[in-house]
Amino acid sequence: MHCSGPVAWICGAALVLLAATLQASDGLPIEVIHFWTSDSESAALRVLAAAVARRGGRWIDSPIVGSDAATSVALNRINGGDPPAAMLWVLGNRVSALAEANLLNDMDGPAARGHWLEVLPPLVLEHSVWRGHFIAVPAEIHGENWLWFNTGVFHDARLEPPAHWSDFFAIADRLRARGIVPLALGAQDWQLVLLFNAVLLDVGGARLYRDFYIRHDARAATGPAMQNALATFARLRAYVDPGSPGRSWNQSTALVISGRAAMQVMGDWAKREFTDAGLALGTDFGCRLAPGSDGQYILAVDSFTFPRTHDPGTLAAQQLLASAVMDPATQLEFNQVKGSLPVRRDLSLASPDACTRLALEAFANPDHHLPNPALALDSGAEGAVGDVIARYWISPSMSAGRAAQLLAQAIADP
């Protein structure tokens, strides 16, 4: 069902009326399937639930850990005729796959009313709109190319965190000599890809990143710059600790928190780990964009999507949630609790901390926004790239040239 233009206003008004009448009973029920199951994510959820309640809705929580399980449940619920009102997805290929399968309602009404076209950054807008309709409501912007480090460790060693990956190795050698693990890493597929992207961004620049991920340029994928990036990435093997295989990202962060490791390349969701452990930004831990990022920002976005339904009650609920999520006040509060950036560009954050300020600087220029693999590639290619990087990491005998070939194959496969 899509309402566009002036019809949108009529539809919207009708739904608001409906919502008002239903509100008289108990609050419009809105069941949301999501994968935010940790304590800090729960805190952010409460903000959203409160915003929904203020508008007359009632958040019904269906948490399912693991995005695969959540996908499975959501698809099966839709297939079984009992879809939830809303689902949380990583923005990008998953959402496109759902839209392509014609499973989503659009939120053109709330989008028009809220002027979303004007306030969303172009990269996010591009993926929230499918064939002219708003099928995803982005909730937050995370950055993936960050460097987190233990300031005490660097201070004692009289070293500075590296500004480029070429600087990393000398610094890491000296850290290693002092018995510190230079780089904390959990060798899971997605973490390896995240680290690789940070290296790629430095060694190949934003241009190579775009050529590879966005233009699927096979020549770029097999060229000398890419091989150089792969070779640099491979050298990092020597600087992680033996416990890294399969370790989850936050356990790796714990190494940096305790001072056993010096630094970690991880998204900005890591900040919460440090603050929860009682460390103070600046004195105990520090944050920078990953070495050589040069102001570029790799985005990761979570968004809400709304399964196709014609039931007027559910429709009203969906629109209620969509408006609540994009509401400026909610955006500010929600993202502050979650540690991410609001999706709206027309907001000014009150007293951001040093890391958020860095993020805002990078985020300010839309030309510096880069898509993460979920945004850039379709899900098959994204998975294939992860396979190659993970395989390359544990195979010292694989040459950078061979890995580059495999990468080219991964993004070329239709």
Partner: protein
């Protein structure tokens, strides 16, 4: 004499090492569940708790957060009971009846039928969720308790039928022929003659089924519907997080709490389990 003693010692050594092997993971889980948060970071998982506490247990049971709700895993407990008991009752009864029919009444193609049923057990469940959901939804049972119970029953029938058939095949066929001479029908023979003889096998089937259904995660997640999610789903939500701190003591306490009913059943009825399988005198 000395050689015999040596052999006995060797047996006990093997038994004790095997016991250590089987207990080690459980020891780790239990130990950690009793540790206060201060002892968790960096310490060895195998060290005994210095200041054991029930803190993690009460958190796991009633306070742990999974998503918005912070009610622990007790929410799922009664759901698990409501799913498991009917599923066990139904599947064991049907398995027994089917096994009886296949073993004692000369049916053409009985082994073929059994073979076909068995093949069904080799399909990975995840791939057939889509058509299964379609079927269950068509029957109007998707997201309901009866729905998830039916799914459990259907998927356990092959193995249970096999077990019961083997068991009944080991009974002397004269029992049935004698009862038929006395004028018994299929159902009356089953109820009056066979059922009392099956208690060994029934216990085995009940124990296996109870464990299987109680510990199931996938079917409960997909078919039970939001209000009837079993304990295993809560447990998974708690333990499988990738964000945020993993409080290992709470995770392990939750793990033990979820595993407690089948564990208790095995501890209490273990001897009947072995006796029951012995009575089954498997004939392949």
């Amino acid at each position: 004499m000395n050689r015999r003693r040596f052999a006995r010692l060797g047996l006990y050594a093997f038994a004790i090492s095997a016991a250590l092997f089987f207990l080690a993971p459980l020891y780790v889980v239990l130990c950690t569940a009793f540790k206060p948060p201060s002892e968790l970071r960096g310490a060895s998982l195998l060290a005994l708790p210095l200041a054991p506490t029930w803190q993690a247990w009460s958190r796991a049971w009633s306070h742990a957060c999974t998503g918005l709700a912070c009610d622990g895993i007790r929410v799922g407990f009664w759901n698990s009971v409501r799913i498991t008991l009917p599923a066990v009752l139904l599947s064991v009864s049907l398995g027994a009846v089917n096994g009886f029919a296949l073993s004692m009444w000369r049916l053409r193609g009985a082994s073929v039928l059994l073979g076909l049923l068995l093949v069904g057990a080799f399909i990975p469940y995840q791939i057939i969720l889509y058509p299964l959901v379609t079927l269950v939804a068509a029957a109007g049972l998707f997201g309901t308790l009866p729905g998830v119970i039916c799914v459990h029953v259907i998927f356990s029938l092959p193995i249970l039928t096999l077990l019961f058939r083997n068991f009944y095949a080991s009974l002397p066929p004269e029992i049935v022929s004698a009862a038929r001479v006395d004028g018994g029908s299929f159902w009356s023979i089953f109820w009056h003659v066979i059922r009392p003889l099956s208690s060994g096998m029934i216990i085995v089937a009940v124990i296996l089924q109870f464990t299987g259904v109680w510990n199931d995660y996938l079917f409960g997640l997909v078919f039970a519907g939001r209000e009837h999610l079993p304990m295993t789903v809560q447990l998974n939500n708690l333990v499988d997080r990738t964000y945020g701190e993993n409080d290992y003591s709470v995770d392990m306490a939750a793990t033990v709490l979820t595993a407690l009913p089948p564990l208790l059943i095995y501890l209490l009825a273990g001897r009947y389990f072995v006796r029951g399988i012995t009575a089954a005198a498997v004939k392949g």
